[in-house]
Amino acid sequence: MDEIIVARNLTKRFGEVVQFEVLHGIDLSFTRQEFTAVIGPSGSGKTTLLHILSLLEPPSSGELFIEGIDFSKGDINTYARFRNQNFGFIFQFHYLLPEFTALENVLLPYWIGEGRPSPELKERATDLMTKLKILHIKNKYPHEISGGEQQRVAIARALFKNPKIVFADEPTGNLDRENGFLVLELMTEMIREMGVTLIMVTHDRDIAIRADKIIELVDGQICKAFRVKDTGKEKALELINNHSCRIE
């Protein structure tokens, strides 16, 4: 299988005087074009893991390869361009820039990486916004639109440059359940269609079950990791609902 991210023995410690370890030697890999859900109770280290994998934070030790490139060490500042060219980010909060309209927000990663977008690119962005059903608010500022719309603009921004990997951290955490599912369905569908690798942190098991692969993190260690198609949906549901770390 084609592995886009390979991590070996990743650890993460915080604090200088009193240190505490959040991740204790994690080994995992992510397959290209797969949707992986990372689940686990709060404080299990899943968000920290996502930050390390998305090159926003360096690991304390261990190895990290993305697209065959070694990112185990070094300053995250130097990875800015790599993030721009390869990653899309969707966070729990939309993090749209209030100074820019919805369309301008979608185009921001392009501005940063390539410069002023051409009219054709703007058209592509509006196409994307049409698919996400937010075309009508393209010239509105973030504070003028609803939470669901804000999050869909954030999704359009993450997908606009055809990233190789989209990192999502509780992307619907700020939305009500119904709206959340709607946004999520739209997002996963588009990501699959585009052939983008999706790594999503969630504590919602109903969302996780839609993934290709589920990784459960408990206390900074991998508790379970399995593919839904290997276990079957029913067995998968059963697995994520019990807290034993054994897969029988």
Binding site: H51, I76, R81, R83, N84, F93, L97, E99, L108, W111
Partner: protein
């Protein structure tokens, strides 16, 4: 340093969307620049006017005979204690003056040079007798030194034969006019009859006690073989002292005086005036820089969240810093353009509406450009603090803690 399009685009957008902050900073810079521009123009104009009044119609460099200290002819019985009394000097004439005159005439920095014969004289009219200075000059060169063309109010500039030029004050006092004849005596009591061909006004009382005549006429009047002094005007007024010193190095039997050495008090006053205006300018620059640093600093804190997400999306530390540095530069530039407009308006209103003011503002490229450059530089420096903060911000801090 190459500025990438997004850095400028985001900087501009932050400024446009932060209207109140932008307005506060712009107003601060504009007022600072206008005050500086106005102050420079005002003080410059005032100083030029003062210098012009003081030395505009007078020589810049004077070559005089060296002071002669009379020789002691008697020996005191006891040793005299050293005294601090000034040496007794005696005015002498310069006999072989052609040397010095030619030397000065050949200097490229000199605008006009004339040999001078001068001495005390008395005008008698009826019972009255007035003390005046009779000054013999080379007509063409002397006219340049004393701006006689400009300062002549009646008659014509003619010094041939027994012609003299009289000042307005003396003419009024003695009720004389052009064409009048008058009798002038020298210190030894010998007198001649002269004809007034022109009346001038040199502005100050001291300058107006002079009567101009030709060099030859003055020489015969005072029965002199040589001349009293050589007077010269330089092209660049503030270089007079330097030129005088260099002439002094060439010759040792004469004394060289410059207008600066004869007007120390004026120069000291001008210098302290310039100094106080510089201090005001420095304080203005410092207070504006602090205001920019404070307002942009607050803006950098307010925009932490935006910066965090921008960094996650691929803005590097340099880019984040440049977004704030550019804001400072844009503000500095726009603010100073605005400031120059306001300053120019102030200057215009001042010149138009002046009551007791009799001088013009000095508007030069230096006065225009230096406040602008200072403002842009100060804004850039002030924005370094928020820029540094933006550069150091870690994206994760914002994303993790919101």
């Amino acid at each position: 340093m190459i500025v990438r399009p997004y850095e400028f685009m985001i900087a501009r957008r932050f400024l446009v969307k932060g209207k109140l902050q932008t307005l506060i900073i712009l107003t601060g810079i504009a007022f600072g620049v206008s005050v500086q521009f106005f102050l420079l123009s005002l003080i410059g104009g005032l100083q030029d006017d003062l210098i012009e009044r003081t030395v505009g119609a007078s020589p810049h460099i004077i070559v005089l005979p060296a002071d002669v200290i009379p020789v002691q002819t008697w020996k005191p019985e006891k040793e005299i204690r050293e005294t601090r009394e000034p040496a007794i000097t005696e005015k002498q004439e310069i006999l072989s003056w052609q040397n010095y005159f030619q030397y000065l005439k050949n200097l490229s920095e000199i605008k006009a040079v004339s040999p001078i014969v001068e001495g005390q004289g008395f005008i008698s009219k009826g019972d009255a007798s007035y003390s005046i200075i009779v000054k013999g000059i080379d007509q063409a060169e002397g006219a340049k030194i004393y701006n006689l063309e400009k300062n002549l109010i009646f008659g014509r500039l003619d010094l041939t034969g027994n012609s003299i030029l009289l000042s307005k004050t003396t003419a009024e006092k003695l009720q004389l006019t052009t064409g009048s004849r008058l009798f002038i005596q020298n210190q030894k009591g010998n007198g001649d009859l002269f004809v007034i061909t022109g009346i001038f006004d040199l502005g100050s009382a001291a300058a107006n006690s002079v009567v101009f005549t030709s060099l030859e006429r003055a020489r015969s009047f005072f029965r002199l073989n040589g001349i009293s002094s050589i007077e010269a005007k330089v092209k660049k007024i503030f270089e007079a002292e330097k030129i005088a010193t260099s002439i002094g190095r060439e010759f040792n039997r004469i004394k060289i005086d410059s207008w600066q050495s004869r007007n120390r008090e004026l120069l000291t006053a001008l210098r302290s005036q310039s100094m106080s205006s510089s201090i005001i300018q420095i304080l203005v620059v410092i207070s504006i820089s602090l205001a920019i640093a404070a307002v942009l600093g607050i803006s950098a804190i307010q925009k932490s969240r935006q910066l965090g997400i921008l960094k996650a999306m691929g803005v590097d530390n340099r880019g984040a810093a440049l977004i704030f540095l550019l804001q400072g530069l844009i503000l500095g530039f726009l603010g100073s353009v605005l400031g120059i407009l306001i300053g120019y308006g102030m200057a215009y209103a001042f010149v138009q509406g002046r009551g007791m003011v009799t001088f013009d503002l000095k508007i030069t490229w230096f006065n225009l450009i230096s406040p602008v450059l200072i403002a842009i530089l100060a804004s850039a420096l002030a924005s370094l603090i928020p820029a540094r903060r933006a550069s150091k911000l870690s994206p994760i801090e914002v994303i993790r803690y919101g």
